[in-house]
């Protein structure tokens, strides 16, 4: 076959189109990342190679608690929000009621609200002097509801609650898309041969959607490892999450500790990135068969 004349032009065009993206990611992602890794092994005074920053990070009370706390918060957020999102997604997919359709239209709204606005808005409701408390003041003084203080702010409950608020819509969106790909006929034919609801769920729905669930979980995990706004505004003074801790180090000009903290965040995110890549590659293997 004769090669099209303009082939080299196409190649040039592709290279030209890719170059800006490539340069941007090299300059703004790869270069600073390498820089941070190198800096995290440097002594702040002499600039010599040292493990001190990491030793400090894992032995200091504040930072070691921050690492541990961040992992706990992120894992709990993933479990809670993916669990709730899966149930919600199934309801949205398999129910045709009016309520289901209304929820289907509304559930994405939190995605469009800036996080700072959302956190402040939630604070006015769940603060100890917030909306819930003010409503409770209208109850009879002897009632158990009188002067109810939620006690949700400045502890892990508040962070988890807020994280669910942000992540459930996102996770639901991904899982709904996965469930939409399961055709009605597959479910119906299973029902025809007498499969019960539990069997259909475990043999058909779950196997066909778990990859997307894992992808959603990966993204939720990654965004929460480095979260800042929520733990900064409604988290406790101690332990703080890594994002807040990182900012403090930066604010006090401890750039080497800050770099080491960034690397720890990066490593934690990489773990979930590996899960993500692994799931995606498995999918390709399945497609080949």
């Amino acid at each position: 076959m004769k090669k099209p004349k303009s082939n080299w032009k196409t190649t040039l065009f592709i290279i030209g189109a890719l170059t800006p993206a490539m340069l941007v990611s090299l300059g703004l992602v790869v270069y600073p990342m390498i820089n941070q890794v190198i800096r995290s092994f440097k002594d702040p005074k002499t600039g010599a190679f040292t493990f001190d920053n990491y030793i400090y990070l894992f032995t200091n009370k504040l930072s070691s608690n921050a690492i541990w706390y961040t992992v706990v918060v992120s894992v709990l957020t993933v479990l809670l929000s993916i669990g709730i999102a899966y149930l919600l997604a199934m309801y949205l997919r398999f129910s045709n009621s009016k309520i289901s359709k209304t929820i289907g239209n509304l559930y994405l709204i939190p995605r469009f609200i800036p996080s700072l606005v959302a956190v402040y808005a939630m604070k006015t409701i769940i603060a100890d002097s917030g909306l819930l408390n003010r409503i409770s003041l209208h109850f009879n003084e002897n009632s158990v509801f009188y002067n109810y203080k939620p006690g949700m702010l400045y502890n892990i409950k508040g962070i988890l609650f807020m994280n669910c608020w942000f992540n459930i819509p996102f996770a639901t969106m991904i899982i709904v898309a996965a469930l939409a790909g399961i055709s009605e006929s597959v479910v119906e034919s299973a029902q025809d041969v007498g499969a019960g609801k539990a069997l259909i769920f475990f043999k058909i729905i779950l196997p066909l959607s778990y990859k997307d669930v894992l992808i959603a979980a990966t993204f939720v995990f990654m965004s929460n490892i480095s979260s800042f706004t929520t733990p900064y505004l409604i988290g406790p003074n101690f332990p703080s999450m890594l994002g807040v801790y990182l900012r403090k180090q930066f604010g006090n000009s401890k750039y080497e500790i800050a770099a080491a903290t960034s690397v720890v965040i990066f490593v934690l995110c990489s773990i979930s990135a590996i899960v993500y890549l692994y799931t995606n590659m498995k999918e390709q293997a399945w497609e080949e068969n």
């Binding site: 009370k61 504040l62 002097s129 939620p150 400045y154 003074n237 101690f238 006090n252």
Partner: protein, 386 residues
């Protein structure tokens, strides 16, 4: 293709010629500063007024860095720019007195030979308005021009606290009698909490010069009594869900005060007055100082950078900032304490409100490099107490 290229080049050439002509006409000088949003708001107004003047010496541009997003980077950036040589856009820097001390200390750490030389020694005859200025900078008087004062005070809600405690000892008794009704913000997140912590610790040091020389490393060993005191009041601080919680940011304490969750808190005077004007604090909130020791305040100053190519033009702007016209803007927009006598200003409600704060009573302290150590120790010893 060639024609198009030539056309673009021609336009670029014309543009560059134009801009050099304009620049020759009036140079542009950059004013760098950092702080809360109100600092940006006020300088936007002041610079607008200056750039509208017919007889201005330059066009001023505001380079603002929001506090908490990199006030340290302003220091580092200037020092890096200084090291790099003269072709930089740093002309004037605005900071509080302690901030300037920190910049100079950082310059010293970075190995700059004459660290104080990063700012110009001023020729005060070129700043005639200085004769009205009654505030003296806490440090480097030959380099700094103060343009406003700011101080931390105690805010209390008189609806709940008709008779506030008058001394530090009475304050402790009051906290114990009213557990959970006092809060100060995490010193790492705002100046009000940091002022409270500094005052609480340095007042325990048996040395009359402790506040004046607060940056001296020798005091670090004498902090123990102050930290013990902070630990002692810890159980009586505001709590939520069973845990003591220090407010986040200066605004965090004001929010708790406004919602009636706490009745007393250290806060910036200007922040309080602005909140009262905006009705985010109830009218019953009042400000005062304890009689035996005021919370720390500061002079906020301007300095001309040694890297500036437009030192003479910078003088003209400094002179404008301390003129009655500009000082009125500082009072109206951010409720700052003016550096000139309030009788020189148009008498408005804002001027009346700030005239209660006398810069002469300010407890000015510069902890310098000790500041970061103090905050670090607070985070390790007090925040972890729960």
């Amino acid at each position: 293709m060639k024609k198009a290229l030539l056309f673009v080049l021609a336009i670029a050439a014309v543009l560059s010629v134009c801009s050099t002509v304009l620049a020759a006409d009036l140079p542009t000088i950059n004013f760098w500063t950092t702080g809360s949003q109100n600092v940006q708001d006020v300088f936007a107004e002041v610079i607008k007024a200056y750039n509208a003047k017919e007889d201005r010496a330059a066009n001023v541009e505001l380079q603002f860095i929001l506090s908490g997003t990199g006030e340290t980077s302003m220091r580092s950036r200037y020092i890096a720019a200084y090291k790099a040589g003269n072709s930089t856009d740093f002309d004037i820097l605005g900071e509080n007195g302690m901030g300037f001390l920190q910049i100079v200390q950082e310059a010293e750490q970075e190995g700059i030979e004459n660290p104080e030389g990063i700012f110009v020694d001023l020729d005060f005859s070129k700043i005639p308005n200085l004769e009205n200025v009654k505030m003296v900078p806490c440090i480097y008087p030959e380099k700094l021009v103060p343009y406003r004062g700011t101080t931390v005070v105690f805010d209390y809600d008189s609806a709940f606290v008709p008779e506030p405690p008058q001394t530090w000892d009475e304050l402790v008794e009051w906290m114990k009698a009213n557990p959970g009704r006092f809060v100060y913000n995490d010193p790492d997140t705002g100046g009000a909490g940091s002022s409270f912590v500094t005052a609480a610790i340095y007042r325990m040091i048996d040395d009359p010069d402790a506040f004046k020389n607060a940056s001296d490393p020798k005091y670090q060993e004498m902090w123990d009594a102050g930290f013990e005191w902070l630990a002692e009041i810890h159980p009586y601080i505001y709590s939520s869900g069973g845990h003591v919680q220090y407010a986040v940011k200066n605004q965090g304490s004001l929010d708790l005060l406004g919602q009636g969750e706490v009745w007393m808190t250290p806060a910036w005077a200007d922040g309080t007055l602005t909140a009262l004007e905006n009705k985010t604090l109830p009218e019953t909130v009042k400000m005062y100082q304890l009689s035996d020791l005021s919370l720390t305040g500061s002079d906020v100053d301007m300095a001309v950078c040694a890297t500036s190519q437009h030192v003479d033009e910078a003088y003209d702007f400094l002179n404008f900032v301390i003129s009655p016209e500009a000082q009125q803007i500082f009072v109206e927009v951010m409720k700052a304490v003016p550096v000139i006598d309030t009788s020189l200003l148009e008498q408005t409600a804002s001027v009346e409100a700030v005239s209660l704060l006398n810069p002469a009573d300010f407890n000015i302290v510069s902890t310098g490099a000790n500041d970061a150590l103090l905050k670090e120790r607070w985070a390790e010893e007090i925040a972890t107490l729960n």
